[in-house]
């Protein structure tokens, strides 16, 4: 059974290879092949899952050792897999949601002549992501880590002919690279500290070494997580990443890849538990990001960017939870899973809306769409309720647990975190309601908005293929797209309950992550009530603002905060001024230095020799007598020198 683990990765990898190398021949059925292999790997995952359930909960981890990868002296890296409950959770999420999104894409990418390649990239992503979660050592994880980075690079930049897309892709990769530096340094630290970087031994040995080293490792891991999971300060790429096709945003930039950071931290729990300072850093990052993202979410008029902001903020929740240590890990993962469902659902919904609206993304040009695309409306609606944590839906359970855990951290820290999370919940309710209202309620602002507003991001090329810029005719999307949405909607509704009843999820993960309840200053019910309360506040605020009065098609100038938020809270400006400009100056001056200084020295020496030569040859003035002089002088010197030698 364990030998199946490898196939989890192999199947999609095979698909990617075939689709990308296959060439035009595969254009017609390429997407089916891709979907099939994604499904295959889901099935394998499911089989392994059932097998795992059979085992007693402490011996569920499975291992598969393929071959020795880099055997160099003391440095032994293997290609080996470890599939425990934590990995399994991810495997199911990835392959499940992945497969759905493959199906969705069949319809969504129908009109794109490069659809085969798109599916190739999707498979590549699945392979890398699965490798990331089933690797049994950090180096192999690193391979998956960068692999998903590559896949996301390729997919964000899928419409390469759009400069904006190409730039966004590059930005995403670069920012991720910064995170990767953290990961690789962390691995080096592990190697120098423990002489290995395999999960088992490393996590076992954490007790033996100094807290300082562990803190260093922890911080480096956190840096990596920030890059991949778009946490402050490395969050800037996620918004731009929305340039990619919507299914990509749903799969990579909502459900799976961006949560890799959470996985990393949870996986390395042992290290963080032993390094409180690192944990504090983690929770801080989480807390900041969850507010930061939420604020951005409130300001964006681009539906996908608004959702991106929300993603950031939700992952902030998870990171925060993971930072809480054993009290939080489980809920981090649980929220991760539920979020996977409803956020993917929301994105697919958004995609469906755009699909029906000539790829218009500006919510101010939507409105009243509920009667035109009912299925989308319902599924999206359910996702909406889930994310704002409407009691009974999955988001409610997971987020509520995190808030409890935050308080349970105890002390002032606990209070701060708890209140932050509550505030976050309120804002979430606010901006999601805003999205909902702008899109599906209110008057139909798209009616006379024939030409798209200039400031809206240029649309996906599928539009050109359909080639109409006239007034949109909103319509429901094809089955291939709606079915996945429906399935996800089910997930959004029931997953939470399913997990929480009888703490199933806690028991499932406990053997891996460990769990304790902490001592919350507030009773569970108080927390729940306050959650509901803030929820209501948020919703009603939003309704007051967007539900009652008509929404202007062109965005009002808005408050200072709003304007800042529209520009990702000035993060981009910072990047531009400091990094881009500064970098350009640096490189330009270096080029100059290299040419004038380093090279100059060389050419200079040559020149000076030439000059010297030019001066010396003047002595050769053609007059025999002057030659005689030099000879005479030479002799004199010769004699003098000889005598001198004797004298001294």
């Amino acid at each position: 059974m364990e030998n199946l683990i490898g196939w989890l990765v192999a199947a999609p990898l095979l698909g990617a290879a075939v689709l990308l190398c296959g060439g035009k021949r595969l254009d017609r059925l390429g997407h089916w092949l891709g979907t099939l292999l994604a499904a295959a790997s889901f099935v394998i995952g499911a089989v392994l899952f059932l097998d795992m359930l059979g085992e007693d909960e402490h011996h569920r981890a499975m291992h598969q050792h393929l071959f020795s990868w880099i055997p160099v002296g003391g440095f032994q890296a293997d290609v080996a897999f470890q599939l425990d409950q934590l990995s399994m959770t991810f495997v199911l999420l990835i392959t499940g949601v992945g497969t759905l999104i493959h199906i969705y894409s069949i319809g969504y990418m129908e009109h794109d002549e490069r659809r085969r390649r798109f599916f190739g990239y999707l498979n590549l992503f699945l392979a890398a992501m699965l490798l990331l979660v089933i690797a049994d050592n950090y180096l192999l994880l690193y391979v998956g880590w960068e692999g998903v980075g590559l896949a996301s690079y390729l997919l964000i930049g899928f419409w390469q002919h759009k400069p904006s897309a190409a730039t966004a892709a590059k930005k995403a990769f670069l920012v991720n690279r910064v995170g990767d530096v953290g990961l690789s340094i962390a691995i080096m630290l592990m190697f120098t500290t423990f002489g290995t970087f395999t999960f088992g031994p490393v996590l076992e040995a954490t007790g033996e070494t100094s807290e300082g080293k562990l803190t260093a490792i922890g911080l480096m891991l956190l840096l990596a997580a920030c890059g991949k999971s778009a946490q402050v300060p490395l969050q800037s790429w996620l918004g731009d990443a929305m340039e990619g096709p919507t299914p990509v945003s749903a799969l990579i930039h909502a459900a799976t890849m961006v949560t890799a950071g959470v996985y990393l931290i949870t996986r390395s729990g042992a290290i963080f538990n032993a390094a409180p300072d690192a944990q504090t850093a983690v929770v801080t990052v989480g807390a900041v990001t969850l507010i930061f993202g939420a604020i951005i979410g409130c300001a964006k008029d681009d539906i996908k960017k608004a959702l991106a902001g929300s993603t950031m903020s939700q992952i902030g929740y998870m990171i925060l939870a993971a930072g809480l240590g054993p009290i939080g890990y489980v809920f981090a993962i649980m929220h991760l899973v539920t979020h996977g469902f409803f956020k993917a659902g929301l994105f697919l919904g958004a995609g469906s809306v755009m699909h029906g609206m000539n790829d218009e993304v500006d919510m101010r040009k939507y409105g009243g769409l509920r009667k035109y695309m009912p299925i989308t409306f319902i599924t999206f609606g359910l996702g909406y309720l889930a994310i704002i944590g409407f009691p009974g839906l999955s988001g409610f359970f997971s987020k509520d647990k995190i808030i409890e855990a935050a308080f349970a951290k105890g002390g002032t820290e606990g209070w701060i975190l708890g209140l932050t999370t509550l505030l976050g919940a309120a804002i979430t309710a606010y901006y999601m309601t805003r999205v909902m209202l702008l899109t599906f309620f209110g008057e139909e602002r798209w009616r006379n908005a024939a030409t798209r507003s200039p400031n809206a991001p240029s649309a996906e090329p599928a539009a050109e293929t359909r080639g109409e810029h006239a007034e949109p005719h909103p319509h429901e999307s094809p089955k291939s797209m709606t079915i996945p949405m429906i399935v996800l909607a089910f997930g959004s509704v029931f997953a939470g309950g399913l997990f929480s009843v009888g703490d199933r999820f806690v028991h499932w993960l406990e053997p891996v992550t460990g769990h304790d309840h902490g001592d919350s200053p507030l009773s569970a019910t108080t927390v729940t009530l306050s959650t509901v309360a803030v929820l209501i506040v948020g919703v009603s605020l939003a309704w007051a603002q967007y539900g009652r009065k008509p929404v202007p098609v062109v965005a009002p100038r808005g408050s200072l905060l709003t304007r800042a938020a529209r520009r990702d809270l000035l993060q981009d400006d910072f990047n531009h001024v400091v990094l881009v400009r500064g970098g350009e100056h640096l490189t330009r001056s270096l080029v100059y230095v290299d040419h004038k200084l380093v090279d100059g020295v060389v050419n200079g020496t040559a020149a000076s020799v030439g000059g010297l030569s030019g001066r010396l040859r003047r002595l050769q003035n053609g007059y025999a007598r002057s030659y005689a002089v030099s000879m005479f002088g030479g002799t004199a010197v010769l004699i003098a020198a000889t005598l001198l030698m004797r004298a001294v």
């Binding site: 160099v72 670069l174 690279r177 076992e204 040995a205 270096l590 290299d594 090279d599």
Partner: protein, 554 residues
């Protein structure tokens, strides 16, 4: 005495050069095929060597050959390979056929016909023989020179006699010089003779730089002779003899002398490698020469420099090497960052790759002087991987340039739209260059970093920053050339042809294979590296909490 495999490996291409050069002007195509054939034969021989080579054997050098040569100079014709050399020889033999294939049409007239007499001279043929073949044969010359370079490079990898090594290390410059100066990719932005001037400037710069390095090394070589002559009675250049003599304490070099000699050797290798601040010849040389030649320079010839550091600097002067390590490491790190930053700032594709190479050589040298098994394994592996990846990237770039007739990045855009395969291969080459996990360079780079970090954490961390910059220059290059709207002059650009694919695909396949399963190579290198380290007697730093012990404790 068994079949002299190592000599054969050098003789075959040398003969090939003569034959190729002798082919009459008319049969240009024949010349190409002959050259390719000889390079392939060499490749086969290299394969045989790999098989015959036994990684686990006890003796330092295998397949050795030894004949008297210049007794008065204490010089013997001594060949032998250790795990490092054998791998690099294989790399050379492997790359040359691709270089030849890639340069298939680069030297067809009109091109300056320098080499004609030139390889004449390189071949050391009696002058009157030339009379029989008066006319220009640029193509023949081009391929003859390439083969000649191959022969000399292989010999310098195999030589276990310092003098013998030096001879080919220097002689190699001449054919290279004519390859650089004699053939340009007709992609200059300037007029014909402006490019010609640029080219000859580049060629002269290349030659003088390396000659200067070589001459300084010559002084050190002479010094080495004097030293050995003093202590051993008769001067010798044989690596093994010297090593044994040092081991037995029979030969002991005073600290200062050793340091001076070391510097003499190192300078030459640092120029060749090239190490900041001695690098400025490389961008000119790579920028002006045709892409195959550029590949020859950076992927093959320059490796001799780094290889020689590993074999000669460390093994002849272990103490001095340790003494110089801090400075060298700093220079290496500067190379890494500096090269990468300049690569970002380049407007010319080939110069960009050149600066990227400078950055990579920084990594290699870093690995060598980190004096850890990971570092040196990584460095050696890096030489191989960098050879392959740069070849892939540069050759594809060459195909691109030859299509558009320009080296300026600004002249490109949206290529992926018209030539997706070209763009794809280019991207893979680029990803290899930024050492993406799963492709070969990642492994070597990571090993180098780990190796450095485990002994010099600070330097290791700075060097790690280099990987971000690498991503920057590669992706910027890709974005500007391949993506975005199709630029004027790009429309209707043909995609890769069969010949070009046969060049690129195997290289990429190799990159992937070595990225996933480098074990065969590392198994070759590891023992040799271990031996080198024992010569400099350095052990890897121990982890402070070896996890195994912890396991055991539990």
């Amino acid at each position: 005495m068994s079949f002299p495999l190592l000599t054969a490996m050098a003789v075959v291409p040398a003969v090939g050069a003569l034959v190729t050069a002798a082919i009459p002007a008319a049969q240009r195509t024949t010349a190409k095929w002959v050259a390719l054939l000889f390079s392939l034969v060499t490749l086969v021989l290299a394969a045989v060597t790999l098989v015959r080579f036994d990684p686990d054997s006890e003796d330092a050098y295998q397949l050795t050959e030894s004949h008297a040569w210049i007794a008065d100079f204490g010089v013997r014709y001594e060949l032998g390979v250790d795990g490092i050399a054998v791998v690099l020889v294989a790399l050379t033999a492997l790359l040359i056929p691709f270089v030849i294939l890639a340069g298939w049409n680069d030297a067809d007239p009109p091109a300056s016909s320098v080499h004609d007499k030139h390889d004449k001279h390189v071949k050391h043929e009696a002058a009157d023989e030339v009379v029989t073949q008066g006319r220009w044969r640029p193509t023949q010359g081009f391929f003859a020179l390439i083969l000649m370079v191959e022969a000399m490079v292989i010999l310098s990898f195999e030589a276990t006699d310092v003098f013998l090594f030096y001879v080919f290390f220097e002689a190699m410059l001449i054919p290279m010089y004519f390859l650089i100066g004699g053939f340009g990719d007709r992609a200059g932005q300037l007029s014909e003779e402006e490019t010609a001037t640029q080219r000859s400037y580049a060629a002269v710069k290349f030659l003088l730089y390396n000659l200067a390095g070589g001459l300084i090394m010559l002084a050190a070589v002479v010094g080495l002779y004097a030293v050995t002559a003093d202590d051993l009675g008769t001067g010798t250049f044989s690596l093994q003899q010297i090593a044994e003599a040092r081991a037995s304490g029979q030969l002991d070099i005073s600290t200062n002398t050793e340091r001076l000699l070391f510097l003499g050797f190192f300078f030459a290798f640092a120029v060749k490698a090239p190490l900041w601040p001695l690098h400025t010849w490389l961008p000119n040389a790579m920028g002006e020469s045709t892409t195959p030649v550029a590949v020859l320079i950076t992927a093959v010839v320059d490796k001799v420099g780094t290889f020689a550091m590993l074999r000669f600097c460390l093994q002849l002067f272990p103490e001095a090497s340790k003494w110089a390590t801090p400075v060298i490491l700093v220079l290496a790190v500067i190379s890494i960052i500096y090269g990468a930053l300049l690569a970002v700032g380049q407007r010319d594709i080939k110069r960009l790759v050149a600066y990227a190479s400078i950055s990579h050589f920084g990594f290699i040298i870093l690995g060598i002087f980190a004096m850890t098994s990971q570092g040196q394994n990584g460095a050696t592996l890096y030489m191989v991987n960098h050879g392959i990846s740069t070849a892939a990237l540069m050759l594809v770039a060459g195909f691109l340039i030859s299509r558009r007739g320009s080296r300026l990045i600004a002249d490109y855009g949206g290529v992926q739209k018209v030539a997706p395969v070209l763009a794809g291969t280019f991207l893979i080459g680029g990803l290899a260059t930024l050492s993406l996990p799963g492709l070969a360079p990642f492994i070597s780079e990571f090993l180098v970093l780990v190796g450095t970090f485990s002994r010099y954490p600070a330097i290791g961390i700075i060097a790690t920053v280099g990987i971000v910059l690498a991503a920057l220059y590669v992706l910027v290059l890709y974005q500007r050339t391949m993506t975005g709207p199709v630029k004027a002059g790009i429309e209707g650009m043909p995609d890769l042809k069969a010949r070009e694919l046969t060049v690129v695909v195997p290289l990429i396949a190799l990159l992937v294979f070595l990225g996933v399963y480098p074990k065969p190579v590392t198994d070759m290198i590891d023992p040799a590296v271990g031996r080198t380290l024992s010569v400099v007697d350095k052990q890897d730093p121990k982890p402070d909490v070896p996890a195994q012990d912890v396991e055991a404790a539990k």
